[in-house]
């Protein structure tokens, strides 16, 4: 059997082993490659830099465990940035019930790290049913829309939330979405209320979000683990995103080699058939 014939019949498990090695080995032999910052990530950083301690950033953690690897590092990096600058933070999950379980421990951990006080510096709202209805409701009456926080305290009794009326009191919404939820923020919060929105989305959806960025509907985009890595670099807090980029690099190279090899085999067999 010729080389190309063998290539065609390659067992899928060999491919699996090669990709596993391409991902695992870089953690043991890191090359410490620098990560360039893209303008769409820098613009989110710059906007948050321009905020003051009286401003509020609303984190919309609309992602499920399936895509946690991409979005939680973004959550950590931007939250750390906000806490560092003493910006007030509200975390909610209008579109994802599972997202609550992912962001709550992270919020607690970072809040403890930065000595933040619950109810004064940050509030966790969690999830309620309704999705886009919650976005609409917040545009007119924030407290009535949510009523209570995650721990069942009424928002009117919490110092940070008692004076929030509507989107005029929210400086930025960071839509961390593993679905088209970021688009709901654009349609229901930007279109009517001109709410400033930044998107932290999975890489699968990142390419689709550029029309919204160019149209000014988003102030910036963080796409996938790379987006998280860039933000980590900006806030000088290298973590999962930055460390993962080495493995990501080599795995991409291996996939490109797979595509080339697969095509070589394809053209060889086409030539044979002719």
């Amino acid at each position: 059997m010729g080389f190309f014939k063998k290539l065609e019949k390659l067992d899928r498990r060999i491919i699996y082993i090669v990709i596993t090695l391409a991902v695992i080995l870089p953690f043991f032999f890191p090359m410490h490659m620098p990560i360039a910052i893209q303008p769409e990530v820098k613009s989110i950083y710059d906007y948050i830099e321009s905020l003051t301690p009286t401003d509020i950033v609303l984190f919309s953690g609309d992602y499920d465990p399936q895509v946690e690897a991409e979005l939680s590092p973004m959550f950590d990096a931007v939250l750390a940035h906000c806490f560092e600058k003493n910006i007030k933070v509200i975390v909610a999950n209008p579109f994802s019930i599972m997202g609550m379980g992912l962001v709550e421990p992270r919020l607690k951990k970072l809040a403890d790290e930065y000595n933040k006080v619950y109810g004064v510096d940050y509030v966790f709202l969690g999830w309620r049913p309704g999705g886009f209805l919650l976005i609409l409701g917040m545009g007119e009456d924030f407290n009535k829309t949510w009523e209570t926080d995650y721990y069942n305290t009424r928002l009117v009794d919490i110092p940070l939330t008692q004076n929030i009326k509507d989107y005029d009191d929210i400086a930025l919404v960071l839509a961390l979405a593993g679905s088209a939820a970021y688009n709901s923020w654009i349609v229901f919060a930007y279109a009517q209320y001109r709410q400033k929105i930044a998107a932290g989305i999975t890489a699968v959806m990142a390419a689709d979000a550029y029309p919204a960025l160019q149209a000014g509907q988003l102030i910036g985009i963080m796409g996938g683990l790379r987006g998280a890595a860039e933000y980590e670099q900006l806030v000088h807090r290298p973590s999962l995103g930055s460390v993962g980029m080495e493995a990501q690099s080599w795995a991409h190279v291996v996939i490109i080699l797979f595509i080339i090899l697969g095509n070589l085999g394809y053209f060889a067999s086409r030539k044979r058939k002719k």
Binding site: M98, W146, N152, V243
Partner: protein, 212 residues
């Protein structure tokens, strides 16, 4: 290169389930099915508890009981919501239509002007770019205008794609192919990131190899 194994039993439970799921790469097996059943059950249990505490108690019961005089009307939508269960009883399915009609009608009404605004008009405004006679003007403004128009023409199926119309539609296909290529590249990135996430969990949380 030092390892510092986790003493947290939960971490090792997660490692066990992680490996159980990966065993599917070899072939389907009871371990994978077990993990599948656990995730469905635990996920549903999580959702039910959160729904009860946050929604039923936090968003309905607490405002109703603490502010009954002004929020008593919440009982009406509660009854409408319960009417949705009649979908499971063939004789009374029609009752669920009232709750559906109420939400679908208003939902469509909410979406209509906002989708026109955000999904159509603002996108069209953003395409009306000045034609600049410079490299930047060509690489961005000109290409964006040509790409959007030819892409739209490609999706216009009421006229046969022939002659000049077909040629423009063909240009649209090239743009779409580049767009799909970008999405494909990003999709590969996304899928690998998820695997990297699991590897990072094992290396950092379980084996204590990575100190981040």
């Amino acid at each position: 290169m030092t390892f510092n194994l986790s003493s947290n039993i939960w971490v090792w439970i997660a490692v066990f389930f992680t490996l159980s799921v990966y065993s599917f790469l070899w072939k389907d097996n009871p371990l994978f099915k077990f993990a599948e059943s656990v995730t469905v059950g635990v996920g549903m249990g999580y959702a039910m508890v959160q729904w009860f505490t946050l929604s039923l108690v936090g968003r309905f019961w607490t405002p109703l009981t603490t502010d009954f005089s002004s929020r008593f009307h919440l009982i009406i939508p509660a009854i409408m919501g319960l009417m949705l269960i009649t979908r499971l009883i063939p004789r009374f399915t029609w009752l669920s239509r009232y709750a559906l009609a109420f939400t679908m009608g208003a939902g469509s009404g909410f979406a209509l002007p906002r989708v026109i605004q955000a999904g159509v008009l603002q996108q069209l405004y953003a395409t009306m770019l000045p034609i600049e006679f410079s490299l930047h003007g060509f690489l961005y403004n000109f290409i964006i205008i040509v790409g959007v128009l030819s892409g739209l023409i490609y999706f216009f199926f009421s006229k046969e794609h022939k002659g000049w119309f077909g040629s423009i539609a063909n240009v649209g296909i090239w743009f779409l192919m580049v767009g799909f290529g970008a999405t494909f590249g990003y999709t590969v990135m996304a899928r690998l990131s998820l695997f990297i996430g699991r590897v990072l969990f094992v290396l950092r949380d379980a084996l204590g190899f990575l100190k981040i």
